[in-house]
Amino acid sequence: MVRSRALSPHARMVLAVLLAARGTWSHGYELARLAGVKSGTLYPLLIRLEAQGLLEAEWQQPTERGRPPRHAYRLTAQGIELARTTAAEAGEPRAASARQATT
């Protein structure tokens, strides 16, 4: 498992939200809102998680005409393992109850 250093509270929150999504894709704005982090914290974190193979990203075609495609994210198996370990270590409540369904 890739875990080179202690995770910040923000990273733990983002991982918890992604874990609670149970494999469905999440978008950046929604992730930031649910995890309670600013976009300036979220994106560097997502970039790092993806580079470490903990997160996968895909472009999703818009559901409405004229809207741009959106980048969506979900944890890889490795990311899920890390998120579970982190949540267990910290004893944090998972964010499932707070999370809305995502596309």
Binding site: H27, G28, Y29, A32, K38, S39, G40, T41, L42, Y43, P44, L46, I47, A57, W59, Q61, G66, R67, P68, P69, R70, H71
Partner: protein, 392 residues
């Protein structure tokens, strides 16, 4: 700020971010732009875009600087006979002008973040952006100036000193200071535009005419009076005279210190102007993002001096003078009611910063390759078309 303006500024912020991100991360820039477009509320979209820019800009610039710094090193083919393969340094080929342009763009972008978060009028943001574009264009023009024209640097320095003296005598006044000229409905501060480039040109090629020009500039700073630029002039010329000791540089340096002394003897009663002065002084009292943007933008301005000093020993005098001038201007803005260069509202410092980059040595030809960004399905959407500029 109107909702439409907020949306346009959010879009522009995302475009800036996309531009500064390294090729390997530009898909992330597009992702943020498209995500911002999907946020229905204009104010939230703007906040999302500005936050993303502030969060990613430092690492984007660091990634570009790292790529640039490692561009002069590449492995060589194994020598016949199984010799151990090591890395080889190509002839040094830095492009410090490009780095400076990047730092200027980054500092302007962080300044825009700061201004937006502290409630500055939208036209302030547009003016700084416009000054950046004009400055980049001017730098492009000056960058191709033939060496034959550069031989007349001395005359140019005298002409610039004349402009500064005329400003002191005939320019706009406020509380006893005469530092500004009205042009196209804007109030420009010629000393911020001219003094840095004058010092650097003089450092490169001091001479009798150049010395006369620098003494004229010192006199102008005493007349206006302008402590901040007088201090920048004095420290810049101190570096110049240390780098090229001689009678000419010594005279210019002595005149500049006398001028600085004269400005210190005269009272400076100018009040602080919101979004222009005291930005750094109050950076730690502001919400974290606004304060960090101001500090980060100011720090970026000194990066070309540091990198140039380290990577181009043959021209250290130029980089030291550049660092002395802009470092002093930043320090003066932190200590008194003087404009915060590039980060605060005002196009003069932005123009001055970019023009001063024109004195940097030309890069030697480099064979370094360029990254080719990968394509993604979002590449061809209408949202990826060039952004028509229209902020106001």
């Amino acid at each position: 700020m109107t909702a439409g303006s907020q949306r346009r500024l959010a879009e522009l912020t995302c475009r800036i971010l996309e531009t500064v991100l390294p090729a390997s991360q530009q898909a992330w820039g597009r992702a943020i732009r498209h995500e911002t477009a999907a946020i229905p509320d204009d104010a939230l979209a703007l906040r999302f875009a500005l936050g993303s820019l502030a969060g990613l800009l430092p690492q984007a610039l660091a990634a570009r600087a790292t790529a640039w710094l490692s561009a002069d090193s590449e492995p060589i083919a194994p020598a016949p006979g199984g010799t151990i393969v090591m890395s080889q340094h190509k002839p040094f080929a830095p492009d410090l002008r490009k780095l400076g342009m990047l730092c200027a763009a980054g500092a302007v972008a962080l300044g825009i973040v700061h201004l937006a978060l502290t409630g500055a009028p939208l036209r302030y943001l547009g003016l700084n952006l416009g000054a950046l574009l004009i400055g980049l264009s001017l730098l492009g023009l000056l960058g191709s100036t033939p060496p034959a024209i550069r031989r007349h640097d001395g005359l140019a320095l005298v002409a610039a000193a004349g402009a500064l003296l005329a400003t002191g005598a005939l320019g706009e006044t406020a509380e006893g200071a005469a530092r500004w000229v009205r042009w196209g409905g804007l109030s420009l501060q010629p000393s911020l535009i001219l003094i840095p480039v004058m010092i650097l040109a003089f450092t490169r090629q001091p001479g009798r005419l150049g010395t006369a020009g620098m003494i004229g500039a010192a006199l102008a700073m005493a007349i206006q009076p302008d402590r901040a630029m007088a201090a920048a002039l004095a420290l810049g010329l101190a570096v110049a005279s240390a780098w090229r000791p001689g009678r000419q540089a010594g005279l210019a340096c002595a005149a500049s210190f006398l001028a600085l002394g004269a400005t210190l003897l005269r009272a400076d009663r100018l009040p602080a102007v919101p979004h222009v002065d005291r930005i750094l002084f109050t950076a730690f009292e502001l919400p974290s993002l606004a304060g960090l943007a101001a500090l980060g933008g100011s720090a970026l301005l000194l990066v070309p001096a540091i990198v140039g000093w380290r990577r181009d020993p043959a021209h250290r005098g130029t980089y030291a003078a550049f660092g002395a001038v802009w470092g002093t201007a930043i320090a003066a803005a932190a200590l008194g009611n003087y404009p915060t260069p590039v980060v605060g509202y005002g196009g003069s410092a932005i123009l001055g910063y970019l023009l001063s980059l024109a004195t940097f040595p030309r890069p030697t030809p480099s064979t370094a390759g360029h990254d080719t960004p990968g394509q993604d399905p979002a590449e061809a959407t209408p949202f990826d078309q060039p952004l028509p500029l229209g902020l106001a």
